[in-house]
Symmetry: D2
Subunit: 342 residues, 4 copies
């Protein structure tokens, strides 16, 4: 049995841990051979492979990124893409394909498995934690940890200068990183894409924080948007929610706060630092278990399935379930956290 | 309404986050007053209190330890202890008691609530993650993170000197910290209290690792024990499982490995470092949510209950459920991880 | 003897360690009393004080920021400022003033000491490490550590996506943070204010790095500027070196690299995260020793002096020496590091 | 020109950074070839080599340990050792030898260079920072950082339980790690090998700390010894200072403190964790500059010299100077720090 592995979409700490675990168990316990495909779906599309065996996965557990490379290539959008993938897999003798990726990568896997009988197993990956059907995805805990450490650091600057510090974190469509890091970092306001924010209310929190003689930290997801009444950037396009899509919402918000409260405000955009580097212990644990269970799916011939976390168990769900809808922050959970605002 | 809060047992990162969350929500949303009791059950036993209000919980979120102090005082073992607690609560006007602690502290709370009508709400706390009825307890993720970072560091020394490094981590009765940190740290053997180990097998793993030209890391829980055939320390007492109880199992194992494999071996005992310092983002999130839900139990008059994590939800369970039996590592999970040994 | 203490300018990890050390030694060994002035020179200017004794400095060693607050108030630019300071010091009975700050704050101290006989002792503080007369200033090591950790993280993203990553670090006039963190982080190009850069040369390094199948990291100080031939931003003013002053040089450079090399490039601006949070062990050591020696200057009546690091010794130099000229990166040192470019 | 490189003695974060820098500059700027010798002096003694070129040093900058391996083999103690080394170097065509190591490794290099004309260049390495002729050695800053972080963590446990925590850190003959980490970590007593300690005085500090309602942290170097009057361990041999040499001084001291003060005390022995893992930014900077300057010594034919740090400069000194005498903590410096005891 020869098993192919690919990683697609944005990189995420833990990808290498998945690969290592699947290969270790596949080789040692089931006697499988492995083929690595380079750069996501580009690999099987172009037959671009890389050797994948026990020596190839040595020492990669603590390393961020992916030894297989990644890309956003979508074979469904390429003339004859599916045919070429099937031909390449056949030629290489690859009888099962572990696809590690987010909404797009898994969407392709679901389609290939359902419509074209390609024996795919999915492993969910999104730094934003916005995939349905799994409690958490690996990479998220690492990102939250990095953002929290940054917020911890910013507190001292805020206090020393009595300034507002706005921290923009990742999260285009879902506010999970903002919510978790904001709560863990003791932020005084957390703004997420799911709940358009009221600039006046944010300014109210800022002012009340200063009244208690402390300087406020505002955590804002990159996809957060102000309420309609606050639309000031006419030249921005609407996003998929129909809301104004700001690039640089953190910068914009800091300026609004300065104008409306008279307090100095500064912005920090954490950016790519959140998705790189060594995975947290939690993410190594989760990613490793995903890899071990993915290879068990292969052994069981259980294709079209994705591994998922439920409580402390790894379960199998149809890949399509994961990509059917975005997992966004529940309003009740956001309300729960609101007690710390202001 | 006046609410008392106490923290009992060994300290654990996240205790302050629970206290802060309960007080913030209790004061701001429900208008409650709070009384802090000093040093676990010693506080209500002796009427020893400390002021607990919003200013008292400012800035404590990222701090390890507990601002209330802790002890292992058990009022059930004291003549008239229960009476004194009831009297002191009555005198202070405390109408609900949030008890944050492990098996012992919660055992007292369960008894007081069930048998004597003391209005207790429980919050589970154990660095070892061995309390039933909750997926995880706060403090555990921090401990695993610290142990994993230490193992990461030890790899380079092992490789440079081609030595065996034995790392002894916390876990007297359950191997959760060893299992998670050992897997996350890429250990070549993980020994836990639940599965008496075979020294010869460990030495086999060590030898096979060296054969692949890499130096082995062995992670051993402090409560791990060798199988009967390996009993060499006659003067040690039996523990609650009926196994030999070694103090210093790491040191003992390193000597055994040296003697049997001829390789140099060194031991590191991580000790108290694992339970101190700032909580991880995960633990701050979990502890804060426990605090928010504990005060909701108080508001609902839902006494005798403990808050618990199930998947991503906080639920309520009878306190007695948590303390009824130790949550140990499932043999199937240990087997799953075994693919990385050797 | 009553001693005043103030901290001016941007915050910097280690300020609290200086304050604590001076107070601890002043009280315990010399029996002095202390007065804290709020927000830099604003404190003595307005007679705004805060109590400063042993309990006030407990636990502040590991904390970033400054418990005294800071500002950029310059009394020399205020009508009658010097008179008001002298009056306030006299009224409060403050007989010596420890001023902890950078070029501006120390410039005032030097002037007050020399021209007006105010008994000032200086402690050098600049995150940028650009003060003459001392080998290092505290805060710098912490900033370099944070930037290096960020660069470490960005490597994995660069490799996984074969992208150029541009990291903008602090350093308006001196490239010390860029140089140290770039070298420690294994950057493939380091651009500093002292050496106007040639965009074509940077693109050459980027291309040659990709040729070796690795993705490049470019570290650029916020004050770095392109050479004249590359002046593309007509609307920017000239800075104090007479070079074009870009805001957002990182962003600009990434766009240039994309345009000229055809490779994807992304920017990360580390910002305020570099100056906040707990100081590194090195900075705590240096700041503490500065504090201990500053109070010894007071005891010796050695005013108009600043403490400074020379090798492993703390020495005293005239404050004016420190502020006379900016300490910039020596071209020879920059050349030495150039072996790692490309 | 072919250049050999070896690393001897205990591993130390930064060794790989030295190797990488020497090879990068040697190959790129001077066109040299390199030969790596395995496991310290064992390599040239047995002609055991490993390829060393630009690809071999890629990515090793942030890695602890040494890619060349290490040992404590001393060729001076082997019959015909020097002859074999000279023969092997000649046979391999190695015309210069960069030896990276501590007292022992450099002692051999000094002897070989002076007495036998072997063209050695030395790079000082000791985690303990006890080599003369250089302000600092790489690895030391990393070790101090790890120990300081551990002490930071232990504070919360000490406070929560009102216990004494004794932390044993590295340092057999010199107390540099104890002094720096103890001061940076806010320890209440620091005990070093250079100054035999008085147990009664330590207990006095412990007691006075509790009187101020805080729990004490005692940092003790592994080589610290009690004063003669406290000699309680008759069976221990005398060390090179003529003092009693305890193994486990931390454990012993904790028991003494418990017995004499009646307070609970616990010990943490940090052990190998202090010397492993990724080097700090400071150590990467220092190690890289040592490597760059070592290859310049080779180019200049300046053999028998060692690179050293003086202030911010790298200078060259006779190897023999570095090994002539141990650099211990100056009593005046220890006194300076003593203000924080108790």
């Amino acid at each position: 049995m020869k098993v192919g592995v690919l990683t697609g979409g944005g990189d995420c700490p833990g990808l290498n841990a998945v690969i290592r675990a699947a290969v270790r168990k596949g080789v040692q316990e089931y006697g499988y051979d492995f083929t690595g495909f380079r750069d996501g779906w580009r690999g099987p599309l172009e037959g671009d492979t890389v050797p994948l065996d026990i020596p190839a996965v040595r020492g990669i557990l603590p390393r961020g990124g992916t030894v297989l490379g990644s890309s956003r290539t979508n074979p469904l959008q390429q003339e004859g893409g599916i045919r070429r993938i099937k031909d390449n897999l056949a030629e290489l003798g690859v009888e099962a394909l572990i696809t590690i990726g987010g909404e797009d990568t898994l969407g392709v896997a679901a389609c290939l498995a359902q419509e074209y009988g390609v024996p795919c197993v999915g492993v969910p990956k999104t730094i934003d934690n916005d995939l349905s059907a799994t409690d958490y995805t690996f990479g998220f805990d690492t990102a939250v940890g990095i953002a929290t450490e940054a917020i911890d650091r910013l507190h001292t600057t805020a206090e020393s200068h009595m300034r507002v510090l706005v921290v923009e974190v990742m999260g285009r469509h879902a506010g999970w990183i903002a919510l978790h890091s904001g709560l863990a970092g003791g932020a005084n306001a957390i703004l997420i894409p799911e709940q358009p924010f009221d600039v006046e209310q944010v300014c109210g929190w800022v002012t009340s924080r200063f009244r208690a003689s402390y300087a406020p930290i505002v955590v804002v997801a990159e996809g957060a948007v102000p309420r309609d009444g606050d639309m000031v950037l006419k030249d921005e396009s609407l996003d998929s929610y129909g809301h104004v899509r700001l690039s640089g919402v953190g910068e914009w918000l800091a300026k609004q706060i300065e104008k409306r409260t008279g307090k100095e405000a500064r912005t920090t955009v954490l950016g790519h630092v959140q998705r790189g580097g060594t995975p947290s212990a939690f993410d190594r644990w989760l990613a490793t278990r995903f890899g071990l269970h993915a290879i068990d799916c292969v052994r069981d011939g259980d294709f079209g399935k994705m591994v998922a976390l439920r409580g402390t168990d790894i379960v199998r769900v149809p890949i399509a379930d994961a990509t059917a809808r975005l997992k966004t922050v529940d309003p009740a959970l956001y309300d729960e956290v609101g007690v710390f605002f202001g």
